[in-house]
């Protein structure tokens, strides 16, 4: 009976959404805000990647909120798992292929991750994507050797300081320029690496924060897996 009712509900939901989307103007968005941003972003923020200028400039406080969510999730996750006993069970290594691949890929991933973070204002990519790659770099050795764990003290330090750096850059803008998160360096030449004011600095902070948060979340779940077996 419950399943039948669920199916009926799903059919109704499907019909409803299909009808709604049928009326939506796909391909010709109103572009009220988007057009203005496209016209002004290059001169206002100096970033040639408009998504970056939206993420860190126009909607910078959204990004701060999102970093806080990652931080809250990592903190809450460690609170949830804190009551469990941390016992170390010997578990075997992952074999030759994974081990040597992780050693091979570690520097590569670091370089790629940093490149993507640093070029966030010029090319697709940025702090989030680069941060995820950085976290993967630090997580690969764990895959190869599951009994190891990342130094949580250092992770906590990076987490805290990179988040604080984002806010402090914003606060400097608040006290000097009168508005929180207002970009305050010279915009520089459009399209060059050192340009678009404080945006690259903010993106470095975002990249480190995202990388550290994801690494600590993975570390948390990894410890559990070892304990569980």
């Amino acid at each position: 009976m419950y399943q039948f009712a669920s199916f009926v509900f799903l059919l109704g939901f499907l019909f409803l959404i299909s009808v709604i989307t049928g009326f939506l103007p796909l391909g010709e968005p109103p572009m009220l805000v988007g057009q203005v941003i496209q016209n002004n972003a290059a001169s206002e923020t100096g970033a040639s990647n408009f998504v970056t200028s939206v993420v860190l400039g126009y909607r910078g406080i959204d990004t701060l909120g999102e970093l806080s969510i990652l931080f809250a999730a990592a903190t809450a996750g460690s609170l949830v798992l804190s009551g469990l006993k941390q016992k170390s069970i010997e578990s075997g290594d992952a074999g030759f292929l994974v081990k040597s691949a992780s050693e091979l890929f570690f520097p590569l991933l670091i370089v790629v991750g940093l490149y993507i973070v640093l070029h966030g204002h010029l090319t697709p990519g940025g702090g989030f994507q680069g941060g995820v790659i950085l976290a993967a770099a630090f997580f690969l050795p764990l895959l190869a050797k599951p009994s190891k764990s990342i130094n949580s003290l250092a992770l906590g330090l990076i987490e805290g300081l990179s988040g604080a750096a984002f806010i402090i850059i914003g606060l400097i803008a608040l006290f000097n320029e009168g508005a929180f998160l207002k970009p305050f360096f010279e915009n520089g030449e459009l399209g060059s690496l050192i340009s678009s004011g404080t945006l690259p600095l903010l993106y470095i902070a975002v990249g480190l924060k995202v990388g550290a948060e994801l690494a600590s979340l993975l570390n948390l779940l990894n410890q559990e897996e070892v304990n569980d077996s």
Partner: protein
């Protein structure tokens, strides 16, 4: 015949949403409920990102000689970036909670979990006012 591009994009979003909601309603396993949530969230994100889609437009990045061209709306893309990261955080937290629930009750069956939880509440409610209770957290 090549189907209309808008119907392809929309059916992707609708399909993900309906599959996700269906999984939420029909699956009984806590982990599958979480996966269904991930799918539904992907559907909502896809819906958001195609809100800024334009025919014959390029990605919103100035390249080459920086001449302005028609570009897709950058705002939904930035918002989806935010929404995806939010989703990752919530899902990781949900995983840790699933681990604890499994440890506590030894099952992932949602019905069973609810039953055990209600039993726990009854027990706690009886014990709450018994003498000799330790100073609780507050």
């Amino acid at each position: 015949m090549i189907p209309d591009i808008s119907s392809i994009l929309f059916s992707g979003a609708i399909g993900l949403l309906v599959i996700g909601v269906g999984g939420l309603l029909l699956s009984n396993n806590a982990y599958r409920v979480l996966l269904a949530l991930v799918i539904a969230e992907a559907g909502a994100n896809l819906m958001l990102v195609i809100a800024g889609y334009r025919w014959d437009a390029i990605a919103p990045i100035l390249t080459g000689d920086f001449t302005p061209q028609p570009m897709v709306d950058p705002v939904p893309q930035a918002m989806v970036l935010t929404a995806i990261v939010i989703g990752v955080g919530v899902q990781a937290l949900a995983l840790t909670l699933i681990i604890r629930v499994k440890k506590a009750y030894g099952t992932l069956n949602m019905v069973e979990i609810k039953k055990r939880m209600e039993m726990d509440f009854d027990r706690l409610s009886q014990e709450a006012n018994q003498p000799g209770k330790l100073e609780d957290n507050s």
